[in-house]
Symmetry: C3
Subunit: 159 residues, 3 copies
């Protein structure tokens, strides 16, 4: 078939290792000429957060969510053996040792490969995340847009 293949990932998690798996698969699929969408929802939105603190007005609960959630991929915990923060350091150490890509590098690569990075507007509302706090150049959409992409997808994953 000459038809373009398509990969979509719903990124729900905010664990360094899971987000890494998502971006490795996404970048691999893009290298294979798939059209790739990563739909960031719930905690997965944090992969798109800017590292610096952006001053925006928020309600009380939204402030708490904002403080407790990691600001960007580099601040995330890992899903297993987190050891109060030692785990992510160990993980980053072995990533560098084996010349693998760190998560921020994988996200940069996704942007270069023109992977469609989407922030779920409905869960942004719930968690009180605002557009100023997220990376530039991403798209904003809801579940309908995700399904529009996924229903023609060859590989659809929920991570």
């Amino acid at each position: 078939m000459s038809e373009t293949k398509r990969t979509t990932i719903v990124l729900f998690s905010a664990d360094y290792d899971k987000v890494m798996a998502a971006y490795i698969i996404a970048n691999g699929a893009a290298a294979y000429d798939h059209e790739v969408t990563i739909f960031h929802t719930f905690w997965g939105l944090n992969a798109l957060r800017k590292e610096e603190l952006i001053p925006v007005k928020k309600g009380f609960l939204e402030k708490i969510f904002g403080k407790m959630m990691p600001r960007g991929a580099d601040k995330m915990s890992i899903s297993q053996m987190n050891f109060a923060g030692m785990g992510p350091k160990m993980m980053k150490h072995v990533i560098k040792k084996h010349n693998a890509m760190t998560l921020p590098q994988l996200i940069d690569m996704a942007e270069e490969q023109e992977i469609k990075l989407v922030a779920c507007t409905m869960t942004m509302d719930l968690l009180g995340l605002q557009q100023e706090e997220l990376m530039d150049g991403i798209e904003y959409a809801g579940v309908a847009a995700y399904l529009g992409d996924a229903q023609d997808g060859n590989v659809n994953l929920f991570i």
Copy 2:
């Protein structure tokens, strides 16, 4: 194509936020005229539990499982920042504030949209859950029935 699209979700988790994501995607797909199946297995079976305590005879381990697992969607924890139960309260608060749907409302909507809600009989056995304890009007099946739906699915997710 005039062919009906199909979405299937294996719902393995019993976290309020993950189950919410599952039901939002399922309801969205049904609104798009997909035939939708949610196959509840392992902890995900708890989304189908009735809130009230149903007196049924059980073995010792099955009683423990029954007591430790949430009776229905409204009793679930969240996967991140649960804070000994504060997290779900915060989540429900922001859901109401933003006029989003709570998980019990999403499940009601799924029933109205005739989404096929299936309980995995094999894991019901393992966890000691009996039909009397689960919602009325659902279906009971095994992995073969799930695969029968999924192999023609456009969007198949494991949540």
Copy 3:
């Protein structure tokens, strides 16, 4: 259609119950004559580990990862109600009581059904796992090989 159906699973997790769900779906799909691939990555690699301690040279962090991770399916925790190890015992007890298959039995069955068991070489490097430590007869590949299988898959899941 006379075309062979295909199922692929990315197995990321090392929870007894999640790995069990993965292998139940995989074995079911193989029984339905699907071509099935399980791509073991990150913690999911531990499902392929031999039970005995294999003496191999490792760096310091890789030694720690090796010690902290379960040696094989039988040693895994469960994702909910682990109760410091009681949970897996309870789970195995009800599995036997209901004549269901334990995880090691499910893995044996997968081998008998010629399910393609793949270890992700890139994450083997990260976690310091070596071929000598993993089961015989499995394949070694990267994300490109996974995508090659998945893009023609009918059922693709991330577990």
